[in-house]
């Protein structure tokens, strides 16, 4: 539905992909663990390998939960934008289908 305004109301997004250059925003969600009250938003290079994300970022980040075992991420089940994902750890986020403001979800 179009906005009813006194003029042609077409203002751009303040979160558009082009505002982040070679990077993009990604929401990482640990499903079923409310200790992290919501999914977490990060800014990552699109070219970042999926494995680097998991090993260099997430394994450290989620230790804020005292019960988190970093290695458990190695066997996590992943989804991107609600679709199952078997990640290629060598390939980039982009190549794994993780786009700007994608929801990257895992369950342990």
């Amino acid at each position: 539905m179009a906005v009813k305004a006194m003029y042609d109301y077409t203002w751009p997004s303040r979160s558009a992909a082009e505002l982040y250059g070679d990077d993009q925003l990604v929401h990482v969600w640990w499903r079923g663990n409310p200790y992290f009250v919501s999914a977490q938003t990060f800014r990552f290079p699109k070219a970042m390998p999926f494995g680097a994300l998991v090993n260099d970022v997430l394994k450290g980040f989620f230790t804020a939960d005292p019960d988190f075992v970093p290695e458990s991420l190695d066997t996590a089940a992943w989804k991107v934008d609600h679709e199952d994902l078997v990640p290629d750890l060598e390939a980039s986020l982009e190549a794994n289908g993780v786009g700007h403001k994608s929801l990257l979800e895992f369950s342990l």
Binding site: V3, K4, A5, M6, Y7, Y9, W11
Partner: protein
């Protein structure tokens, strides 16, 4: 128990809010300052308005007049809401006393010949002028950039509708408790030649959407109209045996001297702004150039109608006021069109 401590003073951790410390130094702030400085949001606006393609919902560009620091203007009366309503309650009470006295003694019905016409045919129709003036002021309340200007405009708007209502009360007393005089006054406002200059002016100001320019034009007219109607005629009424007129007019004269204080301060701030002063002067000159003759004519028409009813020297009063006003404007660096 714990409350014994109350006999002992606990040093406060800070004297006031950080924005005021940054602005005025580390000293306690007044309630006027805490309630009026920096209240309006200034950044990170979320959505563009549906009603304006080129301005934000708060935007300095709703008027041509700009202040380098919007809070370089403060109300010389230091009015925030509580003292405002308290002072107006007192003014309202004083007016009520006067009108009750006029009503109980039937003074309205004892006005000498011409004065009856001035009240019924000129003063009471001016309640519509006040109602229109309210709409001009409330523009500033919505569109001003900064709380101190907005606040003065808001109070002025409420004052003007208050004036419109109190003049209406005069009309009701004049109509012996009924609203017939008000209906007749409205017809005159719509049709009498003497009032059409003022009506045209106020209507034109309602489509002047630069609130600063509208405010200045309205004020120029008020500076001729108020001295005539509520000071000069007050004197004339006293000598002419129209005590009721004098009794009531003083309240509007008092109000106008209060109004002058903030309008003069705001205009001075605009014209004297270190960066935008010249541009502001241009904008003011544009208003004076466009409106001066129209305003002088409109108030002179009204004055002529007064003189036709009572030999009060009204036209001469407007001429004198206009000359004095032109002198003040010139002294402020503005250009007043010749001819009038």
């Amino acid at each position: 128990m714990q409350f014994e401590l109350r006999t002992q003073v606990i040093e406060p951790k800070r004297k006031t809010f950080t924005n005021l410390v940054e602005r005025y130094g580390d000293r306690p702030a007044s309630r006027y300052e805490e309630g009026s400085i920096d209240i309006q949001c200034v950044e990170n606006f979320h959505y563009k308005p549906l009603y304006s393609a080129d301005k934000d919902h708060f935007d300095p560009d709703y008027t041509a007049f700009t202040l380098t620091d919007p809070y370089s203007f403060t109300d010389p009366r230091q009015l925030y809401y509580a003292p405002y309503v308290q002072s107006r309650a007192a003014m309202g009470e004083a007016f009520a006393k006067s009108i009750d006295y006029v009503e109980s003694r039937g003074l309205m019905q004892k006005l000498p010949g011409g004065w009856d016409g001035i009240v019924g045919e000129i003063l009471i129709p001016l309640r519509h002028w006040e109602a229109g003036a309210e709409l001009v002021h409330i523009e500033g309340s919505r569109w001003a950039w900064g709380t101190t200007i907005d606040q003065c405009c808001t109070f002025a708007a409420f004052d003007r509708i208050g004036n419109a209502q109190s003049i209406s009360r005069i009309g009701i007393v004049y109509g012996e408790g009924h609203d017939g005089a008000l209906a007749e006054a409205k017809e005159r406002w719509m049709g009498d030649a003497a009032l059409q200059g003022l009506r045209r002016l106020i209507e034109e100001l309602l489509v002047e959407h630069d609130y600063g320019k509208a405010l200045i034009a309205l004020d120029l007219a008020d500076q001729l109209l108020y001295p005539l109607m509520y000071s000069h005629l007050d004197e004339a009424a006293l000598t002419g045996g129209a005590g009721a007129y004098s009794l009531l007019a003083q309240h509007y004269a008092n109000w106008f001297s209060d109004q002058r204080r903030w309008v003069d301060a705001l205009v001075a701030a605009w014209l004297g702004d270190p960066t935008h002063g010249e541009a502001n002067k241009d904008a003011a000159n544009e208003v004076v150039g466009r409106r001066w003759n129209q305003i002088v004519e409109a108030v002179s028409d009204l004055a002529a109608a007064v003189d036709a009813r009572v030999d009060a020297g009204a036209v001469a009063n407007v001429e004198a006021s206009a000359a004095a006003l032109a002198e003040r404007l010139t002294a402020a660096g503005l250009t007043v069109p010749g001819g009038k």
